[in-house]
Every structure is written in structure tokens, then in C-alpha cells.
């Protein structure tokens, strides 16, 4: 392993600009003559728009224009769409309601935009926005997903009777019923997967500029996938032909899924920039982020696990109501279906699984993928069921897991997925050693002496990443292919630029991708640049989410490098006057087998361009290759997280006193970056389990609408993490990578809740397990108090 190659903890290329304040985020981009957009948003969860009077607003100082939904409709700007078709069990297609970028006739959640003010400054825009008079007729709202389908519930969209978007199912219901009939033990749980607000620290922003001379639109956007944004805004919204729209996603300050989607604000900025003939910038205030960024999770689930007399799992069934909010966001339909039901086998050999999901509209912010997207919800169901089953039967939770682990691969689950490689015993065993599980009894007694209850919780999770084989997702309803592209440009001096369709917003691609190229070509790490996030530079790409950039994006680079090597060998053969088949390439040097004749990488690159040593008619000059890589399967990262908590009996406060994570991500390119991804994922999962939760009141007002009300994990809420790795390589891509970005967020919630319920001796605790919630649970379980006294 070289100091900068695969497996090295190379310090990141991107850091210098970030630690010196030279990063260029969307709001940092300043265009000559730029104006600011301020949106007028609905204060009602549901209302009819009777009229909008913009006359007074238009007269305010600094106002350039005030635009409404009616004008947007007049200009035939199309609706936003959801790009993944889900069919109900009766075969009917999902019920997608119209989602205009500016509401013209009705609003369906607090924060729904109805008009926009374009002004010289943001302050002037805000002043004018307050003068826009919207006459609303408030209507009753539905907020609770559990009540959305009920009799008499307000009907949000005409196209969706009973507010039901689809009633989806997966698995063999009859076989599951038969298995349950044979069971010696059945564990039953009602679970709520709490609604989360992603809260990337950089608020979403959009800056649009129209060039009337070339009829070209440019959008700087906080996007995880600028090409998909361009495609949707061109082909579905109809803003401009695809080749007349350039989307640039510069430095992006965190995404976690929330910046995948195509949002109203960027559409409106583009439209407005053409209307006013000047650049238009919008940057969300945090309160707007709360009211418009797609939220995550929000499932209500009843789940059951059937076991035989030996603790062998026979079957699992789950019925989930998934809240998709007021409109169907870009990929919302796939999250509670193919990213959720397909992972309900966990790491276990479960013969039969049946899952039903009803997706519903409510008068809340749209819900879509948030770090893990469906897989944290599935893991929470499976890992809570298994833990509770172990406690009910009286088998050690680790032992019950071991008895049911899948041990041979490939393994076909009853819910579509074919796991290709893994060693679940290995990660459990290593985690138990690192966490000193043997010493837990002693530590529990010590805690008890200090008036605290100590508990330990496991989460042996699995996820499906490397998203995804295009044919497979196409057959499941996905509207796009999920391959990735790479272009490798070798310059005449031998330095290399790699253009990738993935996008980094914290993941460190500029470093890890350069490590791959450095290792493969034997050239200095410093001589490699990674280019991403600009549709004018990168031909096409699907972006970054679903822990796909390594497994899919880097595989595309490998394929392009294969072609580069093949072409360079042809050039070297001419230079060295040898047969192409005799040319060997190693450590950045071309040589003729069995001779001492060599050519350095840089010389070959130069010769490819000057083309003096070969006939350009026979071998094309230049050294640039492209690859579109489509994976053969999902990848299946898996591992074991063990959380140890101390609960204060008097206050109910939970302190995480230990965290061990042992993950199998396949090949690791940069262990420093991979560990950082694990840390961040765990923090988000702990946030979900202990602190975070979007709360709506019954009228649809978001009560947790700022960082003063919504509890984000801070440094003192978390411990240091003990992170280890095991490795089975993914056979489904050339590097053996599985992906690491979401593991922590997927594993953590179940580990935390399993630890707290172990500590307090009650399963009746839901997320977030705030001090108040745990204290209340303790009052209901006097045994727990007594044990500690």
C-alpha cells in the first residue's frame, strides 16, 4: 500500500479551502446585478386561496417584481413530480397529486409557497413580502398519519380518496400466516419511527441567471445530484430544454438526502430570473428549512415475529402507515416500499416475510429519503423485534441473533434481495469483545450503586447500498437508471482530471477518488483532480445518496481507467517499438516484457497527444476515456453496533457511556474518512433515538420549527465512538466496496432503544427517548426503580 493509495488514511484535499474560509457554497456565489427572492408562505396547514393582492407589495422600496402561482401557471411551468412509480396490491398506480412550485388555488401545509417577491436586497424583499395580502379560507387539516385514512378525515387531494397514495405489499401473506400458526412464540410490537428534520447546517439555496443573448439558464443549487435536477426541471417542469440549462452544485454543506430532491424554490428562481432579466438568489432561513426541506421517517408500524421452540425465527410480518406529507417529493414513494420492505430480513435467515405499507397524505411537509431512507426504519423493526423476542423467551439477545444469522452466501431473502457476501458472526463477535460485553454485569452493579440503571443494546443491521442496478430498479418502478459515469482525462503532462457524476457534500470524494487513480496509475496523488457538480463539465451522472459513490461511482472510474491503460499501452508499444501484447504497466511505468526498455507515464501521456510515434489514422491521438458503469447487484454493508447507556433514575436522563461499532464495508479506500462517516451516522441515529422529533400540533403547525425547539445532537450529548471493521469484499463491483455513509444512522436507533429498555426493564418507550419519556416509563415500572435502590 502506498502512502496515498487504497487503504491509506490520506488527509483530505478539500480541507484547505474549508478551514481557511475559501469554500464556495451556493450563497457565497455572487453574480453581477443579482436580486434576492423572498417567498410568501402559507401560515395555514390547509386552505383555499381566495385571492392574492400584490399591489402594495409592488410599491415597496427595492421591489423588482412580485410573482404568484397564477402567473406561474399562466407561463405553463409544470408541476414537480415523484419519479418512482409504486403500484398498490390491487394493481392501481400511486395517486400523485399536482404539486405546483407556487400554489395557485389551495395550500396544503404550513410553509407552502404562494408568491415570491424579487427585490434588490433580502431585507427589502422581506418587508415587501409582509405586504402581500393573501385571502385564505382555512380548511380542516389532517396531521396524524394514523388518522389520515379514517372516516370523516379531511380529503387533501381529489386524486387520492381517503388520503391514500398506495397500499403496497411484499411477500407471501398465506405462507406467513401458516408459519405464525405453527409458532411456539410470537413477539408483537407497536412502533413509531419518529419524524425527523434533516438540518444540514448549510440551508438550501438557489441562484438562477438567465442570459438572453444565448437563451441559456444557469442554476447554482445546493444539490446532491445536479444532473437529475437538470433533467427533471427540463423534461418535467418544462423550464428550458436540457441543453439550455446548466446546473452547478458547488460546495454543498451537508445533504443527508434532503438535497437530492427537486424543490419549488429552484424552479421559481429560474422562472423569475428569466422574467426579471436579472440573477435571482434565494437562501433559506432555518425556519424555512424546517418548513420546506423534505422531512424523514414518520412511520407507524405494527410488527410481529414468529419463533419456534428453539428460538429459530419462522416468519415476520409488518403493517406500516407511512406519512408522505402534503405532496409526493421526488423519490418519496420508494422509501417506505423498496428501501424498507426489502430489508425486513435483516441479517437473519427468515423463511417467510410479509409487509404491507399504506402511504398517506397529510397536511405536513413532504417526507422523503433521509440518511438511510427506509433502511433505518426496517432495522428498527427487525432489531427491536429480535431483542424483545430474546428477552421474552429468555435467551441472551446475542445468542438469539447468532442462532438466526444467515451463514452462507449468496442468500435469497423472501423480500427480493439476494445478499452476496457477509460474515455476521464475525462482526458480532468482534463488537462484543471491543464493548467488553462480558463485564456488563459488573458495570451494571456499579451503576446501581450510584443510583443509575445501566443497559446494553445491540443492533445487527444490514442495508442495501450501491444503488443500484438499473434494470432491477426499473422493474420496481424507478423512473431513472442508477448507474454512474466517469470520464478520465489524462493531460499531455501526465496529470489527470476525473469527471464524476457523483457529488460530494462532505464525503471527501476529491480525496478518495484521487487515491484510487494514484494507486492505479502509479502517479502522485497531487497530480489528480476530481471534478464534479457541474452539468457543463460532467456529461451525466446520478449523484450521491444511498452510499453509492464508492461502489458505483468509483467502479465507473475503474472501468474508465481500464480503457486508459489499454490505450496507453498501444501508445507505449509504438514508442518502445514492441508488440502491444508485450507491454506491461506497473507503478506508473510501461515496460517491454523480458527487456529493460521502459517508458514513463508522463512520456506516454505526452506521446499520446503529440502523436509523433504513431499514425493518427490507425490510433487516435489523445488520452481520454469514459465509462458508464451499471452495478450487477446492490451491495450489503452490515455490522454490529453495541450501545451502553446509564439512565438517571431521578431525572430519566440517558447518558450514552459506550458505543462500539464493527462494520463490514468491504474494501475501505480511506479508513479515516470511513470512520468519520460512521461517527456522523451514529450521531444522527442517536439524535433520532434520544433527542430529535418533528412535532406538529393538531392544526398542522410545526411546533418544533427552529433549532431552539428541535433538539439537534450537540457534542456533550455524545460519547467518543469505538469503531472497528471486519471485511468481506462485495463480489458485485470491481473494487469490492460496499458503502459506509448510512450505516451509523441505520444501526443506531435500535441499539439505543434496546439499551434503554434493557436498563429500565420496560419495552414501553418510543423515540425520542427524552428524559421526560424515560422518567415516565420508569414510573410505570417500579421494579426497575427498586432494582437500583
Amino acid at each position: 500500500m502506498s502512502a496515498t493509495g487504497i487503504g491509506a488514511a490520506v488527509r483530505r484535499k478539500e480541507d484547505l479551502r474549508f478551514i481557511t474560509g475559501k469554500g464556495q457554497y451556493t450563497d457565497d456565489v455572487i453574480r453581477p446585478g443579482e436580486t434576492r427572492a423572498v417567498f410568501v408562505r402559507s401560515p395555514h396547514a390547509r386552505a383555499k386561496i381566495k385571492s392574492i393582492d400584490v399591489n402594495e407589495a409592488k410599491k415597496m422600496p427595492g421591489v423588482v417584481a412580485v410573482l404568484t402561482g397564477a402567473e406561474l401557471a399562466n407561463d405553463k411551468i409544470g408541476n414537480l413530480i415523484c419519479g418512482w412509480m409504486i403500484h398498490s396490491k390491487d394493481g392501481s398506480p400511486m395517486k400523485m397529486a399536482p404539486h405546483p412550485a407556487l400554489a395557485a388555488t389551495s395550500v396544503n401545509h404550513v410553509g407552502d409557497a404562494v408568491a415570491v417577491v424579487i427585490a434588490e436586497t433580502k431585507a427589502q424583499g422581506r418587508d415587501a413580502a409582509e405586504k402581500v395580502k393573501v385571502d385564505y379560507e382555512p380548511l380542516p387539516a389532517v396531521v396524524d398519519p394514523g388518522k389520515a385514512q379514517g372516516k370523516g378525515a379531511p380529503q387533501i387531494h381529489e386524486v387520492a380518496p381517503n388520503n391514500t397514495i398506495y397500499q403496497w405489499h411484499l411477500g407471501d401473506q398465506k405462507a406467513v400466516e401458516a408459519a405464525f400458526a405453527q409458532a411456539k412464540h410470537v413477539t408483537r410490537l407497536d412502533l413509531i419511527n419518529n419524524r425527523l428534520v434533516p438540518n444540514a447546517i448549510e440551508p438550501r439555496a438557489a441562484l438562477a441567471e438567465y442570459d438572453s443573448g444565448t437563451d441559456q439558464l444557469t442554476l447554482w443549487n445546493t444539490s446532491q445530484n445536479p444532473h437529475v435536477a437538470r433533467l427533471v426541471i427540463a423534461a418535467f417542469v418544462g423550464m428550458a430544454p436540457e441543453h439550455k440549462l446548466r446546473v452547478i452544485a458547488p460546495d454543498v454543506g451537508g445533504g443527508f438526502g434532503s438535497k437530492i430532491f427537486i424543490y419549488p424554490e429552484e424552479v421559481v428562481c429560474l422562472w423569475a430570473s428569466r422574467k426579471v432579466g436579472r440573477p435571482v438568489k434565494w437562501t433559506a432561513e432555518r425556519s424555512e428549512s424546517f418548513l420546506t426541506d423534505a422531512h424523514g421517517r414518520d412511520h407507524v408500524t405494527h410488527a410481529e415475529l414468529a419463533l419456534d421452540g428453539n428460538g429459530k425465527i419462522l416468519a415476520l410480518r409488518a403493517k406500516t402507515i407511512a406519512n408522505l406529507g402534503a405532496y409526493m417529493s421526488t423519490f418519496s414513494s420508494s422509501v417506505p416500499t423498496y428501501l424498507y420492505g426489502t430489508l425486513l430480513s435483516g441479517q437473519y435467515d427468515i423463511p417467510q416475510i410479509y409487509c404491507e405499507v399504506d402511504a398517506v397524505y397529510t397536511n405536513t411537509v413532504p417526507v422523503d429519503a433521509y440518511r438511510g431512507a427506509g433502511r433505518p426504519e426496517a432495522t428498527f423493526v427487525v432489531e427491536r423485534l429480535v431483542e424483545v423476542a430474546a428477552r421474552e423467551i429468555g435467551i441472551e439477545p446475542a445468542e438469539l441473533r447468532k442462532r438466526n444469522f444467515i451463514k452462507s452466501f449468496p442468500h435469497q431473502t423472501p423480500v427480493i434481495m439476494a445478499y452476496d457476501a457477509g460474515d455476521y458472526n464475525a462482526s458480532l463477535k468482534k463488537a462484543m469483545e471491543l464493548a467488553d460485553v462480558k463485564g456488563i454485569g459488573k458495570r451494571k452493579r456499579e451503576s446501581a450503586r450510584n443510583g443509575k440503571l445501566r443497559g446494553i443494546g445491540y443492533s445487527t443491521y444490514i442495508e442495501a447500498c450501491g444503488i443500484a442496478p438499473s434494470q432491477a430498479v426499473g422493474s420496481l418502478g424507478c423512473g431513472v437508471g442508477l448507474w454512474e459515469s466517469a470520464e478520465v482525462r489524462v493531460n499531455p503532462t501526465g496529470s489527470v482530471e476525473v469527471l464524476t457524476g457523483t457529488h460530494a457534500h462532505g464525503q471527501g470524494h476529491e480525496t478518495t477518488f484521487a487515491q484510487l487513480v494514484s494507486e492505479r496509475l502509479g502517479i502522485p496523488f497531487e497530480n489528480v483532480s476530481i471534478v464534479h457538480g457541474d452539468t457543463d463539465k460532467v456529461q451525466f451522472g446520478m449523484g450521491t445518496y444511498g452510499s453509492r459513490s464508492g461502489a458505483v461511482g468509483m467502479s465507473a472510474i475503474v472501468k474508465a481507467l481500464d480503457k486508459i491503460e489499454a490505450k496507453a499501452k498501444k501508445v507505449a508499444a509504438h514508442m518502445l517499438e514492441a508488440a502491444e501484447g508485450d507491454i506491461e504497466f506497473k507503478d506508473g511505468k510501461f515496460s517491454v516484457a523480458g527487456t529493460d526498455k521502459t517508458a514513463a507515464w508522463g512520456d506516454v501521456a505526452l506521446n499520446a497527444y503529440i502523436a509523433h510515434k504513431f499514425a493518427g489514422q490507425e490510433l487516435e491521438p489523445g488520452l481520454k476515456e469514459t465509462s458508464f458503469y451499471d452495478p450487477t447487484n446492490f451491495t450489503f454493508p452490515a455490522g454490529c453496533h453495541i450501545c451502553e447507556v446509564e439512565v438517571d433514575i431521578e431525572t430519566g436522563n440517558t447518558e450514552i457511556v459506550g458505543w462500539t461499532a464493527v462494520d463490514d464495508f468491504g474494501t475501505v479506500i480511506n479508513p479515516m474518512i470511513v470512520e468519520g462517516q460512521v461517527h456522523g451516522g451514529i450521531a444522527q441515529g442517536v439524535g433520532q433515538a434520544l433527542l430529535e422529533g418533528a412535532v406538529y400540533d393538531k392544526d398542522g403547525q410545526l411546533v418544533t420549527g427552529s433549532l431552539m425547539d428541535y433538539t439537534m445532537p450537540r457534542a456533550h450529548n455524545l460519547p467518543s465512538f469505538n469503531v472497528g471493521l471486519t471485511e468481506t469484499k462485495s463480489p458485485s463491483n470491481p473494487l469490492g466496496i460496499k458503502g459506509c455513509g448510512e450505516a451509523g444512522a441505520i444501526a443506531a436507533p435500535a441499539a439505543v432503544i434496546n439499551a434503554i429498555t434493557d436498563a429500565i426493564g420496560s419495552e414501553q418507550i418510543s423515540m425520542p427517548a427524552t428524559a421526560s419519556a424515560v422518567w415516565s416509563a420508569l414510573q410505570r415500572t417500579p421494579a426497575a426503580r427498586k432494582a437500583a435502590e
Binding site: R11, R12, E14, D15, L16, R17, F18, I19, T20, G21, K22, G23, Q24, Y25, D27, D28, I30, A123, N199, A200, I201, E202, P203, D251, V252, G253, G254, F256, T283, E285, R286, S287, H505, G506, Q507, G508, M672, I673, E675, G676, H679, G680, G681, I682, A683, Q684, S706, L707, M708, M712, P713, R714, A715, H716, L718, S720, F721, G744
Partner: protein
């Protein structure tokens, strides 16, 4: 509009601002020092932390006009142009104390202030408590804590711009 004058990163600056203009707006929009970020508008996240007369302050909470004559240091002013990085900047890079980089300028400015108040030998508990006012969504804080501890140690003997503050 009234004018305000202050020293920013060692340079005298003057600008016309509205009474409601915040320091962070003055820095970002008037001076185009975009290294200082806005993350929350409610003084929770700390992405906007700068040094005002040598002490950490959230620049989204200060009105520019109240800072007549003040000495401001932003992330851009921590190291001399083309000079070595401030030890705290270097510590964040060495310890992978950042991912997306958005909260990082505020984190670094706060970290330097923690050292000013608490000294160069910081234990994990102290660092975690003192980072109360800075939110990071990417790192889980693990490597930020390591970075602050390492940076604090490296600051022994006086970093570059401390004297100016």
C-alpha cells in the same frame, strides 16, 4: 444609511449599513468575506462565530452599527496570506475534524476561544461542554473533539494572529 468603521482581519474598513444590518451580513455582503456562514438565524448553530475584540461572538446576533471601532477577526484572517495555517486550522485538517466544511469556520473560531478561556490542556469533557454553541451535522463531533484538543496543545507558544486580537 449610516456608516460604520471597524478593523477586520487587521484592515480598516468602512461601510454604509442599515440599522438592522447584522455583523454577519456586513462581513459577507459588504466585505465579501464569505467564510463566515449562516446556519440557523437564531444563534444556535455557531456557523457564524467570529472574534470581536479577541472574544468569540456569534455574528448573526450583533448589529454592525454597534461595532464602531471594533477589532474583528474572521476565519479568513486567522493565518497570514500564504503563511502557515493557524495551529487550530491545521489540527482540524490533521484530525479529520470536518466533512462538508460548513460549520468549520465557526468551530475553529470557537475552539480558539475555548483555548483562550480554558488553556492549552483540554480534556474531552471540557471540550464537549464548551462546544455547546456549535452544531455539526456531519462528524458526530468525535474528530472535532480530537481536533480541538490537538489544536489547543499546538497553540502553546503563541499562534500567528493572537497578538493582534
Amino acid at each position: 444609511m449610516p456608516a460604520v468603521s471597524m478593523t477586520v482581519n487587521g484592515k480598516a474598513v468602512t461601510g454604509d449599513v442599515e440599522a438592522r444590518t447584522l455583523l454577519v451580513q456586513f462581513l459577507r455582503e459588504n466585505l465579501r468575506l464569505t467564510g463566515t456562514h449562516v446556519g440557523c438565524d437564531t444563534s444556535q448553530c455557531g456557523a457564524c462565530v467570529v472574534h470581536v475584540n479577541g472574544k468569540a461572538a456569534k455574528s448573526c446576533t450583533l448589529l454592525a452599527l454597534t461595532l464602531e471601532g471594533a477589532d474583528i477577526t474572521t476565519i479568513e484572517g486567522l493565518a497570514e496570506p500564504n503563511g502557515p495555517l493557524h495551529p487550530m486550522q491545521e489540527a482540524f485538517r490533521q484530525n479529520h475534524g470536518l466533512q462538508c466544511g460548513y460549520c468549520t469556520p465557526g468551530m475553529i473560531m470557537s475552539a480558539i476561544d475555548i483555548v483562550r478561556r480554558k488553556g492549552n490542556d483540554l480534556d474531552e469533557h471540557t471540550i464537549r461542554e464548551e462546544l455547546e454553541g456549535n452544531i455539526c451535522r456531519c462528524t458526530g463531533y468525535h474528530n472535532i473533539v480530537k481536533s480541538v484538543a490537538a489544536g489547543a496543545k499546538a497553540m502553546k507558544g503563541g499562534p500567528t494572529r493572537q497578538a493582534a486580537e
